[in-house]
Symmetry: C2
Subunit: 200 residues, 2 copies
Amino acid sequence: MRRFIVVGHRAVTSADFNLSDLSSSAGRLDILARAVSASFFLSHGIRKDVVLYLLLLGEPSPPKSLRFVGSDLKYLNPDERSTAALIRNALSKCGGEEKVEWLRSTPGISISTKNLKCILEECKPSTFYYLKESGYDFKEVNLSQDSTFVLGDDSDLNEEEEKILDFFNPTVLSLGPLSLHKEHCITLVHNKMDREHIQH
Amino acid sequence: MRRFIVVGHRAVTSADFNLSDLSSSAGRLDILARAVSASFFLSHGIRKDVVLYLLLLGEPSPPKSLRFVGSDLKYLNPDERSTAALIRNALSKCGGEEKVEWLRSTPGISISTKNLKCILEECKPSTFYYLKESGYDFKEVNLSQDSTFVLGDDSDLNEEEEKILDFFNPTVLSLGPLSLHKEHCITLVHNKMDREHIQH
């Protein structure tokens, strides 16, 4: 199983946002939508062996966490707008109340108020990796088949989040000499995992 | 210089399309918008050493070709919608008339009625690569620093297009064991080029 956790520090936590303005008023929800696409899409299908968590930490009611399970997903298209519509639909089902357990929104997509620590706990046991520029070159590391990769949005995790992650003993990995968008990082991880774990 | 040519077989060739429906009525223009983003965006900037050509072959007036020059680009954002708006803006400046030469639309973006052969000629002299599943594993190939990579949209080039490309002696490259979206292919090529040609 490949798991990705993407932390959206400013991503809106209510359904009250405009699908035509994802990058600004929705708190860079465009980044998270592209992370969904990079996590699941193959040329002619969906990666079934992937679970993606989006942690939304923007206003008005953080945290909200979304879980996408590849083996159950339906109605997912690769464009940002339709993915953001699925996120909005999930947010509309998780109003002000505390919903700590996962609440199913559409097939394969659930929402809760779990925070980073809860999500990391849910990913145990697996090998944890934190994707950050200062890490080891990932080309030199054999990635575990049962892995959890943690990423920020347009910035890395903050100090407090890194402290929480440290309890899970992550290997810190760098993907190359330049600083990349997070959806591009997911694509690179998939390609390396495909090469290591899938027969040609 | 890194050049990418992406052939959009159904991509709309007039400005008369809806930015909220890129994947359907605009003939998978969402794929081309994501190719733009994958070609140019770093975490905190634009790749200056990249030129991207989009060849639009859908109705009503093919071919239309767009050229994006990294060193001149302004007003580019990573989300699909705003990129599609730049494409629409360019299309609105290239009406029914024959405009074989490049016509500047916004900084770094030009439009013409050049076809695949004309675009390939413009990329000479460089080493040509055709990204296709049946090719050599690209991990085993040292990519030239002055390269042109040719890709389809959600399908490969058709037989006629492949014949035209053959005149430029492309090396056919495969990127991994699974069939990937074209924007993901661009990300993988960039990472390999970064590793081979940029000092840490």
